[in-house]
């Protein structure tokens, strides 16, 4: 069989669009504020808008890390925001009871893992649709967080705990460094072992994966557990950042930012191939977008609108049908114009 056009046309990496979008945003900012990219040394550490973006963006980056794997299996986890609230509340409690930082972190990881396990079992073992399964914890989680804090906003006074979100190491912000390290470790763990391949296989064609001898259900459960752990640690960062555990507001709408970061990063919601670097850049884009709107003086209450527009745009660009539609309309336009 000769197949002259079987030369694979390498698809344009979605990262190209991402980086272009980021560059565009930065340019927009530079026209308004020429000092946007300036980083200075202040009070013994780095200082400037880029450092701000990295520090504030580290939470979405961490959520997006876990979300990437869940989405790669063809699922989605809507409960991560609520899980953040629960872990924040649990951390506040353990610290108030005089427990060490290590115990507190262990508790956060444990709570996140338990939440992920619950989601994963609902999805993989009971076959409930991921949106429905995780919606349960998304709604119930807020209530659980309120139960833990007894309806109060718990103030956290613990220097080491707060350092996690606001501290500096050798002048560099700790949170983005730690999240970056987690990305590296996860990348190695997924690509050095076959775990990454298994996740992609299950997301690409679950039946075929199962027939090839993969424990597809277990792969899915583990992805949700990992996502839960990431959400738990994000809850730590949120509580440490504001020095309080707010069951109501902590991690509010965080799941949407995380999903957006993953999707714009090039991991399709239909599952299959995933890219951690894409998710990292996607989270960076969304934080830059948020900061930009803040800098441009867009009221926080209105801010979700432009964000939503970008999400719709990206989703449409990903849809083959939409692209075909646009192409057809374009051609028709050209004909009628001629």
């Amino acid at each position: 069989m000769k197949n002259p056009d079987s030369r694979p046309r390498r698809p344009v990496s979605p990262l190209v669009w991402l980086v272009a979008g980021l560059a565009l945003l930065v340019l927009l900012n530079l026209t308004k504020n020429p000092a946007f990219l300036r980083v200075t040394w202040h009070d013994g550490h780095l200082f400037g808008t880029p450092i701000d973006i990295l520090t504030q963006g580290s939470r979405t980056m961490l959520l997006a890390l876990g979300m990437t794997l869940v989405i790669a299996t063809g699922g989605v986890d809507l409960s991560v925001g609520s899980v953040c609230a629960i872990t924040g509340a649990v951390c506040a409690l353990t610290l108030q009871h005089g427990q060490s930082l290590a115990v507190t972190l262990a508790a956060a990881i444990g709570v996140g893992a338990a939440a992920g396990l619950a989601n994963g079992l609902l999805v993989a073992r009971l076959g409930i649709q991921p949106i429905v399964a995780t919606l349960i914890l998304m709604v119930a989680g807020r209530g659980i967080a309120q139960l833990v804090t007894d309806g109060q906003v718990l103030i956290i006074k613990h220097a080491a705990f707060e350092f996690l979100a606001t501290g500096f190491v050798l002048g560099a912000p700790f949170a983005p460094l730690a999240v970056g390290a987690l990305y590296l470790v996860s990348h190695a763990a997924l690509r050095r072992t076959a775990a990454g391949l298994f996740i992609e296989a299950v997301g690409d064609n679950e039946t075929a994966s199962r027939f090839a001898g993969l424990a597809a259900a277990r792969v899915k459960v583990l992805a949700y557990v990992f996502c839960g752990i990431c959400a738990g640690l994000t809850g730590v960062l949120i509580a440490a950042n504001i020095g309080a555990a707010d069951g109501n507001r902590a991690g509010e709408n965080a799941e949407l930012d995380a999903i957006f970061a993953v999707v714009v990063g090039g991991t399709a919601l239909t599952g299959g191939r995933f890219t951690l670097l894409g998710s990292l850049l996607g989270a960076l884009l969304i934080q830059t977008l948020t900061t930009t709107m803040y800098n441009l003086g867009v009221a926080p209450a209105v801010a979700p609108v432009p964000k939503a527009l970008v999400i719709v745009g990206v989703s449409l660009l990903q849809s083959e049908k939409f692209r075909a539609l646009v192409a057809r309309a374009w051609r028709r336009e050209g004909r009628s114009g001629a």
Partner: protein, 505 residues
Amino acid sequence: MSDEPLLQLRGITKRFLGVTALDGVDFTLRAGEIHALLGENGAGKSTLIKVLTGVHAPDAGTITLTGKRIAPASPKDAEQAGLSTVYQEVNLIPALSVAENIVLGRQPGRFGFVNWLAVRRHARKALARLEIDCDVDAELGSLSVALQQMVAIARALDLRAKLLILDEPTASLDEKEVAELFGIMCRLRADGLGIVFVTHFLDQVYAISDRLTVLRNGQLVGEFPTASLPRLALVGKMLGRDVSDESGRPASASTATKNAAATVLEARGLGRRGAVHPFDLTLRRGEVTGLAGLLGSGRTETARLLFGIDRADTGELYLHAQRAALPSPRNAVRLGLAFCSEDRKREGILPNLSVRENLIIALQAKRGGARSLARAEQEKLCAHYTAALRIKTADAETPIKNLSGGNQQKVLLARWLATQPELIILDEPTRGIDVGARAEIEALIAQLRADGLAVLFISSEIEEIVRTCSRVLVMRERRLAEEVSTADLTPGRLMQAMAGAHEES
């Protein structure tokens, strides 16, 4: 029975993108007749039904209903002309009530308001005609599949239909339910309706149909009164072989196997309700066992039981004479089994992953996630199998969906060979691939046998089975019916077994 034709199709031709699905097919249905429409996969049965019901427009040919030319442009058109169809999958809405389903889309009432009293009355009347006893307010989904099927018929007949098309209505029914359905069909026949009955079950054809029409490869083979066509002749017509054809098997495959060969897998009384009747089966090293049978005879269901995809209700499996539990494909793979599914697209390929990843996935699954195959090793495996099976691909990193069907199939075979299985089950491995690749896959199977693998080879093509297998097990009506051994393995003998002819005449 009147001889006045109710429906006449003449010279119906339908092409899809250059492929001729129907080539000048004639079909005649008389009033008060049950007419079976038969043919193997790809024969053109469903295309014919779709042309008839207005889903596809024919490229040529005429449809005449009670003397009038019709050209249904949509299923709704066809319904209004008096052609009613009940598809294999009940396509009603389970969450609605029986009455709602029966009137859906043509509710009595006006200005968007529905006259619910009339709806119920209407539904009761429609059910009474078929003498079905069922609560019209019951939720459809709460009824048995058989009852749902009958509600579908009631809905179809609601419109003063002259003609009813039943597309494999018995596929999911048990024997008692089939009998009930047949009762209704006889009643409708007595009312003067013409019924087109599509089925794979020959027993049912002989039990109820008056006439039958056989299609093969989009062409009309012929129309016959059911009573005058013996089973064997019918199967011959469906498969396109003459009954008298007793040509021997080619010498290449006639190497007899040693009977003493070690048993790899043995099934005792393995079965699953609604899928396969309990069967015994022994698969030995260095032996290619064929599994033959008409479509729907339970071949794939048998393979799925052996590979742990479906749970068996009864019976035991022994691997090397040791009792083995196969609760999942994963266990099967770890125990040295391999299964190449007939549904390459749904159950085989990981479309967006590369040839390399598709090739190593089963081996990697067998090793477990932690012990990753080194990239160099993966590439070595790829290079080896690409060369050995002559897989044509730009490179190992090409997504497998870009490969042709035959090459995809070879990658899937390589996926399983890489796990070094003791038993490989091949379900229609040559379906939908070109002749060259087909010959290569047959050669590969011979090689596997020489290497001492046990092979279970499932195929619809008699020639292929005779060429490839040392012995053949024949399935009929979801039952492992008989074994044809090496000595008398000829196409004719096999066909006889598939038809179950010797039991009757």
